[in-house]
């Protein structure tokens, strides 16, 4: 492993943490504990269901917003404020910068998710008074959410390698929404014919598949997640991120810094 990538990753992480990115955790904690208490009061029998559904959905949405926010913010800031000049005039290759940023961002998100996950399990404990075997599947759902963040981060980097911060945010969020409906999109594509069908199929397979990474309602009901899905989803997320990152590198390699 190239040590410069590590330094850049660590610096990115440190900057994100000091930039109070993790402040969202406070909002998250308030939301979750408030809901847990409220749900404990009013919904008999489905407390666990509601806490898991709401907790995981919140982790996912908070995380995606943070991922887009820091993924684009930290990169475009480097260009806007020209800190990139002093980095790239050192023996740092451009690809190392992109890859280092990616690792730093995912590190931040993993820590962020880890802390939010603790919150989810605490409120689960609060409403159910004990952990059950099926709570292990919640961990899988959380793992899938981290995989989602990986892809979102890579996409944010990809877009900010050639676009303005605002447009990058819009593109990334749009892809997140479209990707969450990816399976429906492939359904559409399958029943469309001719040239349009070709286009639809290509688009449907190219957008990130966030829907397979969303097993929230499944685990809320305590249903198991097939092991093969865990494996394939991991492979998919890694490959998709690699794809976006190498795209970002290719574009960034030839970009003239303003």
């Amino acid at each position: 492993m190239n040590s410069r990538i590590g330094y850049i990753a660590f610096n990115t992480f440190r900057e994100a943490v000091r930039d109070r990115v993790l402040y969202n955790l406070i909002a998250f904690a308030l939301l979750l504990s408030g809901t847990a208490i409220l749900v404990g009061e009013i919904s008999i029998d489905i407390e666990r269901l509601v806490v898991v559904n709401l907790g995981l959905t919140a982790v996912s949405l908070f995380g995606v917003v943070i991922a887009i926010f820091i993924g684009i913010g930290l990169v475009s800031k480097e260009m806007d404020k020209r800190t990139l000049y002093t980095v790239l005039s050192r023996p740092v290759r451009r690809w190392e910068f992109v890859v280092g940023k990616f690792f730093g961002l995912t590190g931040t998100l993993v820590v962020n998710t880890f802390l939010m996950a603790i919150g989810v399990f605490l409120s689960l404990l609060y409403v159910a008074h004990k952990f059950e075997k099926m709570d292990a599947w919640v961990l899988v759902a959380l793992y899938f959410i981290v995989l989602q963040f990986l892809i979102v981060c890579a996409l944010a980097l990809f877009f900010s390698s050639f676009s303005t911060p605002l447009m990058s945010a819009v593109f990334t969020f749009a892809l997140f929404v479209i990707g969450s409906l990816a399976e429906d999109l492939r359904g559409f594509a399958r029943i469309t014919h001719g040239f349009g069908g070709w286009i639809a199929t290509a688009v449907a397979y190219l957008v990130p598949n966030f829907s397979a990474l969303n097993v929230i309602s499944q685990v809320a009901h305590g249903d198991p997640v097939p092991g093969r899905l865990i494996l394939y989803n991991s492979v998919y997320a890694l490959l998709y991120s690699a794809m976006a990152i190498s795209g970002a590198v290719l574009i960034f390699q030839r970009r003239n810094l303003k």
Binding site: N11, T83, L84, V92, N256
Partner: protein, 313 residues
């Protein structure tokens, strides 16, 4: 061996939203800078100074041409560990302290871990920031940031230092300090390439200057030669509608602007010239020895462009 050999480096940008047209930012530039030299790159804002530096740093890519730095191709990754760069109006990571920032840059530049923190402290002392080394950079003033910028540029003991407008935005004290530091770099045998639009800085520091205007290198000269050329001359400014013939016969170069005349002539004819003014009952405004020949040179190099522009339209 030349420190920098710029071989017809050229850059044009595409401008316009709909139909993009190329706009020339830098006409083919050929320039050689010797090792150990302090070279000043002079020109008004937007002349192409920063573009040249960014091309050499590999931040933007040339449309044509290339350059050799320290005998290596400018794209050679090894070049980067031997050069330092201070961008114009530098800005660094807000949430790091000066010490952390220098440490990070030290890591990126491949400064060995063993002596790294000692080196960082040394640099902080050198730019006078030892007392505020632990303060986050967002609390720094512009002048302090400039010092951090200098520290990071020389942190890894580079052979060649590029400084983009190192004195801009600084108070007189700060400018003095930066001047001293550049002098010191010269003493250490480093090559310094710096851009500025402040002539006095260039005159005080540089071995040679290059003058660039509208993306074109207009001239290169050794400061010592330029200053000797005009030594012993005086400039007389007085009120008149035209240049008296007697004055011209004294060998004065005169220029009329409005109802004032600006005449430059050798020092020994100063008294004769004043006699002419007295005789013609012209009002004397000022009489000063001409010191800065660089300014003359600079203006002379810029002027043709203005004329050319006027004719061209």
């Amino acid at each position: 061996m030349a420190a920098i050999e710029i071989l017809d480096l050229e850059k044009s940008y595409l401008v316009g939203f709909w139909r993009k047209r190329p706009k020339l930012a830098l006409r083919p530039l050929r320039l050689t800078i010797e090792e150990g030299e302090v070279f000043g790159f002079l020109g008004p804002n937007g002349a192409g100074k920063t573009t040249t530096l960014k091309l050499l740093m590999g931040l933007v890519f040339p449309t044509a041409g290339t350059a050799r730095i320290l005998g290596m191709d400018m794209d050679d990754p090894r070049v980067k560990s031997q050069i330092g760069f201070l961008p114009e109006q530098p800005y660094f990571y807000d949430h790091l302290s000066a010490r952390e920032l220098l440490n990070y840059y030290g890591q990126l530049s491949g400064v060995p871990p063993k002596g790294r923190s000692a080196r960082v402290e040394q640099m902080l002392a050198r730019v006078g920031l030892s007392d505020s080394a632990g303060v986050q950079l967002r609390k720094f003033s512009k002048g302090m940031l400039q010092r951090v910028g200098l520290a990071q540029a020389i942190l890894h003991d580079p052979k060649l230092v590029f400084l983009d407008e190192p004195m801009s935005g600084l108070d007189p004290m700060g400018r003095r300090e930066v001047r001293d530091m550049i002098q010191q770099l010269r003493c250490e045998g480093k090559t310094v390439f710096f851009s500025t639009h402040i002539l006095s800085d260039a005159e005080a520091l540089c071995d040679r200057v290059g003058i660039i205007h509208q993306g074109e290198l207009r001239g290169v000269g050794a400061v010592a030669e330029l200053t000797s050329q005009t030594q012993g001359k005086v400039e007389i400014i007085f009120c008149a509608q035209g240049v008296p013939a007697d004055l011209t016969s004294l060998g004065a170069e005169a220029r009329v602007s409005g109802d004032m005349v600006n005449a430059v002539l050798p020092e020994e004819r100063q008294d004769a010239a004043l006699e002419v003014l007295r005789r013609e009952r012209l009002k004397l405004i000022s009489l000063t020895p001409v010191r800065s020949s660089l300014e003359e040179y600079y203006i002379q190099k810029l002027r043709p462009a203005e004329n050319r522009k006027g004719v061209g339209v």
